[in-house]
Symmetry: C2
Subunit: 241 residues, 2 copies
């Protein structure tokens, strides 16, 4: 079966967490809105969102079509893929623990996004610059260390852990990779300081990056570069010392 991933074509955004899982799993998938032709492209995505007959209409992209299933919400898609592709433990406790970590990453992500959109998701950054300055300063001072410290703590809970939940890679590890990569793009100064404090987390990022399928993916055209339209944006004025 070939999965169909529906996500905006010009940003990594939340779709990237799904792409990383699909790539690591070696799954066959079509990134629908990035294709050109009949029945694909961003038009296909919009048509799907507008379809009043869809029994399980997604609120927003990303959503994944897997045979007859249509699955929305990033963490939910990963819950599904994790079970199918060995990217999560099989036992109930382990499965819930990985999902819990993913949901905490999702919370983290909202706060990253809000550093440049504290007032309204529909307004431009330029329309909320002073507020972004205040929000980003608080984020870097209080929230970034709290979240990074939490994940560093999870990663160093047991001796000799290689991944968040132990010795086996899960989708939450792939998502940590993406969050560290994105934050390093958006806040290079703050993250250079954070790297000295959260060594295991940055080591995990490097370890994921070096996995053959991830390395190949990152070097391919399937990986959209970071830019100032996504969640992780580099505005130097927000990355103050």
């Amino acid at each position: 079966m070939t999965y169909q991933l529906f996500y905006w074509p010009e940003i990594q955004g939340r779709g990237e967490f799904v792409r990383l899982a699909l790539e690591e799993a070696g799954a066959r998938y079509v990134d629908v809105a990035r294709q050109t032709g009949k029945g694909v492209g961003v038009e296909a995505l919009l048509r799907f969102l507008r379809d009043r007959k869809q029994p399980h209409p997604p609120f927003a992209p990303p959503f994944l079509r897997a045979g007859r299933l249509v699955i929305g919400q990033t963490a939910n898609i990963l819950l599904f893929l994790g079970g199918r592709h060995g990217l999560a433990p099989r036992d109930e406790g382990g499965r819930l623990w990985v999902h819990e970590l993913q949901l905490t990453l999702a919370d983290f992500l909202v706060e990253v996004h809000d550093t440049h959109h504290p007032i309204a998701p529909g307004l431009y950054y330029e329309d909320q610059k002073p507020e972004s300055g205040r929000r980003a300063a608080d984020f870097l001072r209080n929230r970034l260390p709290k979240f990074l410290g939490y994940f560093e703590g999870v990663l160093t809970r047991k001796r000799g852990q290689r991944y968040l939940t132990g010795s086996k890679l899960t989708y939450a590890d792939l998502s940590v990779f993406q969050v560290i990569a994105g934050l390093s793009y958006a806040f290079p100064r703050a993250m250079a300081r954070a790297a000295r404090k959260h060594r295991q987390l940055f080591a995990l990022h490097a370890r994921i990056q070096a996995r053959p399928r991830i390395t190949a993916y990152l070097a391919s055209e399937r990986r959209i570069p970071f830019n100032e339209m996504g969640i992780f944006r580099h505005y130097p004025e927000l990355d103050r010392a």
Copy 2:
């Protein structure tokens, strides 16, 4: 087995979504931080959060202890309880769909919270009042109708639906009840207008409220009243026409 729910004792907050599921299920549970005595109270919650030996440390409350499992993140707890207490479909597609709806409600909730905390979760509302005014205005104009419209659409997808996913109650319905109740407390003027437009959603709220176990719960001391410390806060200046 008696569940132990860990959540802040003075607010409904995110813990309320778990309480509603436990109450509707008729499950035995202890609301740990609201008890007094040895080994309970808010001290027990804080001790748990600080415990460096916890193999699955939660990032924040709520978390649920179910025998040997410790489960954090509201939607994750509901995923677990839904399966155990018949508050979600058994088939994979149905289970994922309910979880997707719950995660969209979680996104909605973050935006509700940000109407009074757009700049920093750790600051007081009084320290971010002008920004809250801007954020709340955008929320009421753009985001509230979008989210309510989405759920109204889901609820009216099929003819004769009683609940979000069809004829059977799920934990997502209980959460919709809580969101509508909370928004009606926080934004009575805006919600009075919304009620005329989203009739099925408000009817669902009324139907849930009338369920015997929910009615009994709401009348009990176990239900904490809404207040200005939680997610849903009534600041009249934010509820403008």
